[in-house]
Every structure is written in structure tokens, then in C-alpha cells.
């Protein structure tokens, strides 16, 4: 081994943290968020009246998930400075030094282009256009613009997370319809109370990072009021959806039970003040946040079940309104 090559190897070893493994790059794609994207996109695709061949369906869902992951990588690249400050995000690949920011940007841009083109080829170009818009919305509109400039960041930025079921639906049908808009609306209205509950108990994080969350700009009392207001609107929307094309008796039962629990906890959060929350270490806020994850899963599972049950079954049971 020559002296030069020895030095090169030594230098590379010294740069160990930048020599990322496969798992570090995969972590850039926010795999937990991708799981939710895969699930909601799959429901949107399977609930559509027009079926795709199963290989086309798998390909479409995969490329939607890769697009979501790409936007996650772009978000991590842009937000590396505030991720380093926040306890919840400090161990992400860039702030922890495992991935070079330039590599994250390259991966995000590369996978964005790849996923959009491949979805266009596998399904159709309207779905691909929607995916491109979603990536742009999350990476540019939300991450670069809204997140650091307005307390409405979560409200408007939530649209990015609401698009996957609509893209799944469009991948199957080739058009946007009322049903896909309803699935979009469900996630769109669910996002603010979900994140505001998180902001209530991860309180120092957003303060330290200077992110203008509602808790920081309007105070914690106003955040509690907002959680209740959005939960009420969400409950009305979620239950009303039972009487549309994506609904049915099973969905109605799930929506009534889940929204009753969600509303009850939102009222509890609204009635509490900071002292009460401190005493039990934000028990209600944490349980509201955890339940919100189940809430979304339950609603979309119910939509999927309704789509799989033929309308004739409900007609035979005397529930012709859902036939």
C-alpha cells in the first residue's frame, strides 16, 4: 500500500460520520410517514370504482411512497438547522452528521424526478402531476415558506399529507372526484389537532427552534381552543362522509365511535390549563395524540372495507341507501 493510498484511506476513516450506510439514506425518506402514505394511497386506489392490475397497483403505490420519501429528504435537507435544535429531531441523519446535506439534497431531487416519471408511466400523468405538486407543496410551500413564517404552517402544510389517497384514486380512475376530495379533506382537517397536541407536550422544542407554532405565537390557551374547534369540524366532516360514496354502515359506526372519543378528549384538553397538564405530565394531550393515529387508521380501514363489500349486500340487509 503506497503512502498516498494510505493517507486516502485514513482520511476516509476520519470522515466516518459522512460515509453513510444504506439505513441512513433510508431514514432520510421518513419511513414512518411513508407507512401512512402507503396505507392511505392504497385505500384511495382500492376504494376507486375502476380497478388496476395488481402489479400496476403495487407499482403506483410504491412510486407514490418514493415521492413522499423524496419530499421527506428535501424537508430534512432544508430543516437541518432547526432539526439539530429540537430534541425530537436531533438524531435525524443530517443533524447527527451521518449524512452529508448535499447527498440528502441529491437523493431528494433524484427520487422526486424518478417517482413522478415512473408514476406517470405506471398509472397516468394526472396522478404523476398531483404527486409532483405534492412534493413541491411539502418541500417548497410548507418547509421553505410556511413553516418558519406563519402559525398556520400546520393547517396549510397539512395538504401535502392529505394528497396520497387522492393520488391513489386518480392513479386508478384517471380523474379527481368527490370521493377523493373527501378523503383529502379527512386528513387535511385531522392534521392540525394532531400536531397541535404534539406541540403542547413537546413544548420547548418548537420554542427553541423558533418555529412559529400556534403554541409559540398565540399561546397555549389559544392552541387548546383551536384543537377543539378543528376537532368539531373534523367530526362533522367524518360522520357526514358516511352518507357519501366512500361511506357505509361500517364506516358510520367507526366514525361515530372514534369521533365521540376524539371530541371528548378535545373537550378535556380545552378545559385544562397548564398547571393541570403539568401535574399529570400532559397525560390527556399525549393520549389524544396517540389516539389521533388510530383515528386515521380506523377511518381509512373502514373506507377500504366499505369498498370491498358489494352494494348488493347492504341492499339485501335493507340498507338500500348504501347499496
Amino acid at each position: 500500500m503506497t503512502e498516498t493510498s494510505l493517507h486516502t484511506l485514513e482520511d476516509e476513516i476520519a470522515q466516518g460520520p459522512h460515509d453513510a450506510g444504506f439505513g441512513d439514506f433510508f431514514a432520510l425518506l421518513k419511513p414512518r410517514v411513508m407507512t401512512l402514505v402507503v396505507f392511505t394511497a392504497a385505500v384511495g386506489l382500492l376504494a376507486a370504482p375502476i380497478g388496476l392490475h395488481w402489479i400496476e397497483a403495487i407499482a403506483a403505490i410504491l412510486f407514490i411512497a418514493i415521492g413522499a420519501g423524496a419530499s421527506g429528504a428535501l424537508n430534512m435537507w432544508w430543516d437541518a438547522d432547526i432539526d439539530a435544535v429540537m430534541k425530537r429531531t436531533a438524531k435525524r441523519p443530517i443533524p447527527s452528521g451521518r449524512v452529508d446535506p448535499q447527498d440528502a439534497l441529491n437523493l431528494g431531487l433524484g427520487l422526486s424526478g424518478f417517482s413522478v416519471v415512473m408514476l406517470g408511466l405506471a398509472a397516468n400523468w394526472l396522478a404523476a402531476g398531483l404527486l409532483a405538486f405534492t412534493i413541491f407543496f411539502y418541500a417548497v410551500v410548507y418547509s421553505m415558506w410556511l413553516k418558519r413564517s406563519t402559525p398556520q404552517n400546520i393547517v396549510i402544510g397539512g395538504a401535502a399529507g392529505a394528497f396520497p389517497p387522492m393520488i391513489g384514486w386518480v392513479a386508478a380512475t384517471g380523474s379527481v372526484s368527490v370521493e377523493s376530495v373527501l378523503m383529502f379533506a379527512l386528513i387535511f382537517m385531522w392534521t392540525p389537532p394532531h400536531f397541535w397536541a404534539l406541540a403542547l407536550f413537546m413544548r420547548s422544542d418548537y420554542d427553541d427552534a423558533g418555529v412559529p407554532m400556534l403554541t409559540v405565537t398565540h399561546g397555549r390557551r389559544a392552541t387548546r381552543v383551536h384543537i377543539l374547534a378543528y376537532t368539531v369540524i373534523l367530526a362533522v366532516l367524518a360522520v357526514a362522509a358516511a352518507f357519501t360514496g366512500i361511506g357505509g354502515p361500517i364506516y358510520l359506526a367507526v366514525a361515530v365511535v372514534c369521533n365521540a372519543i376524539f371530541l371528548r378528549d378535545a373537550v378535556k384538553i380545552w378545559r385544562r390549563d397548564e398547571d393541570m397538564s403539568e401535574v399529570d405530565n400532559f397525560k390527556i394531550e399525549k393520549s389524544f395524540f396517540r389516539f389521533s393515529l388510530f383515528y386515521l387508521f380506523a377511518h381509512f380501514t373502514a373506507i377500504l372495507i366499505e369498498a370491498l363489500i358489494p352494494g348488493s349486500v347492504w341492499a339485501a340487509l335493507g340498507m338500500g341507501v348504501w347499496a
Binding site: 484511506l9 485514513e10 460515509d19 450506510g21 444504506f22 392490475h53 402489479i55 407499482a59 410504491l62 405506471a122
Partner: protein
């Protein structure tokens, strides 16, 4: 100065290369399956070899 035959850095690189290789193989398999489905869904394909294409033959008298 000596280096262990399998330094942690080498392990990491090997893992990364294996991951990329598996992704490429999976992508090729998916493309093959997707192409097969797309071609099958596009209807019967007329070839230029072995058999004349019915649609390319000149119309004969009596056909209507």
C-alpha cells in the same frame, strides 16, 4: 499502520452497496412485470414475422 481486513467503514459501504443492488434488482423485476401487464392490456399484438398481418393485407373482392 495496519488496517483490519473488515473495518467498520467497509461494512457500512458493503451494506450500502448491497442495498442499492437489491433495489436495482427489485426495480428491474418490477419493470419487467409492469411491461408485461401493459403489453397484455393493450390488446393483441401483430408481429411482422412468420405470419402476414391481417390488417395489412389488401382487401380482396367479395369482402365487404
Amino acid at each position: 499502520m495496519s488496517f483490519a481486513s473488515e473495518h467498520e467503514m467497509h461494512k457500512r459501504r458493503k451494506g450500502r452497496n448491497m442495498g442499492v443492488a437489491l433495489c436495482l434488482v427489485a426495480f428491474i423485476a418490477l419493470m419487467f412485470a409492469l411491461t408485461t401487464v401493459k403489453i397484455r392490456d393493450s390488446g393483441p399484438v401483430e408481429g411482422f414475422d412468420h405470419a402476414p398481418r391481417a390488417s395489412a393485407l389488401p382487401a380482396t373482392e367479395g369482402e365487404g
